[in-house]
């Protein structure tokens, strides 16, 4: 087994990042923290696209385009999430996801 990175090294790396993101999404109390964990997930997904593009279909560029789309979606999502957090914070004075449990606050 050689130490120079091959496909499985890359895949394991992105999987580790993804599972760390899952842990964050499930355990974070602060909504902004949850958003950050989601960004981790998206980032590792984009990385997977690029890894497979590099190792499995080198002459084509579709994986890179998918990565671009993911980045764009992440941007849109972050904008909306920030607006929501600000609105929630204005009415509840907290962004703790465990305490935001009533509708029509």
């Amino acid at each position: 087994m050689s130490f120079s990175p091959e496909l499985h090294h890359w895949l394991i790396l992105s999987t580790i990042l993804f599972s760390i993101g899952i842990y964050g999404v499930l355990t974070r109390r602060n909504a902004v923290g949850v958003l950050m964990s989601v960004e981790l997930l998206l980032n590792s997904a984009a990385m997977n696209f690029l890894i497979f593009n590099h190792y499995a279909s080198k002459p084509f560029i579709d994986g890179a385009i998918m990565a671009l789309f993911i980045i764009a979606v992440a941007a849109a999502e972050a904008v909306i999430a920030m607006a929501l957090f600000v609105a929630i914070f204005r009415s509840r004075k907290t962004v703790d996801v465990t305490q935001i449990n009533t509708l029509k606050g």
Partner: protein, 186 residues
């Protein structure tokens, strides 16, 4: 200069493992830091490392976009969200034990499943002689505006619509309802 690194190089290997270690440690800080702002900084580090990975994979254009959009836009937005919703003194309480156990279990289960799947699967790797497009930026641009078979012009337009919609939606959601009638310009 084209950044081309040969995967067989020692520098490539060292760079890969350094970046991998840094990004994993930073990702752990992102999910466990009690001070939310430190998590945001760690997220920036993870994303910068991600750009490093893309350069190692020879997609330098994507790396540039990652830096530009993720670090320059999204992280700054998140930092803004942190600044608007908490203060330096606010320290997040640790999650309850059950939650922690659930999170740990599901993430480890996912990790184990994925690793087993990787080791079982035979991926159809492209041949060594296959060449990557010389200029990634040019190839991506041509592909994005290609309306023939395999072109991405429709998703591209949809993404632009999505971005527009999200910007308008964000303005509507974050607007202070009390000051709606004043018609502030900003």
């Amino acid at each position: 200069m084209d950044i081309t690194l040969n995967p067989a190089d020692l520098t490539h290997t060292i760079a890969f493992y350094t970046l991998a270690l840094t990004s994993i440690v930073a990702a752990l800080i992102v999910v466990t830091a009690k001070r939310i702002f430190r998590a945001a900084v760690a997220l920036a580090v993870v994303l910068i490392c991600g750009a490093g990975f893309y350069i190692l994979l020879n997609y330098d254009f994507i790396a540039g976009v990652q830096l530009l959009v993720y670090v320059g836009g999204i992280v700054i937005l998140i930092v803004f969200a942190v600044m608007l919703t908490s203060s330096l003194e606010s320290i997040e309480e640790p999650p309850s034990l059950g939650r922690k156990a659930l999170g740990l279990f599901s993430s480890l289960a996912f990790l184990a499943t994925a690793v087993i799947a990787f080791s079982e699967t035979k991926f159809p790797l492209s041949s060594i002689s296959a060449e990557q497009p010389k200029d990634v930026a040019k190839a991506v641009g041509r592909k994005l505006l290609d309306y023939g078979a395999g072109g991405y012009v429709l998703p591209f337009e949809v993404i632009s619509l999505l971005l527009l919609a999200s910007v308008i939606g964000a303005i509507v959601v974050a607007r202070n309802p009390k000051r709606k009638n004043e018609g502030s310009a900003t």
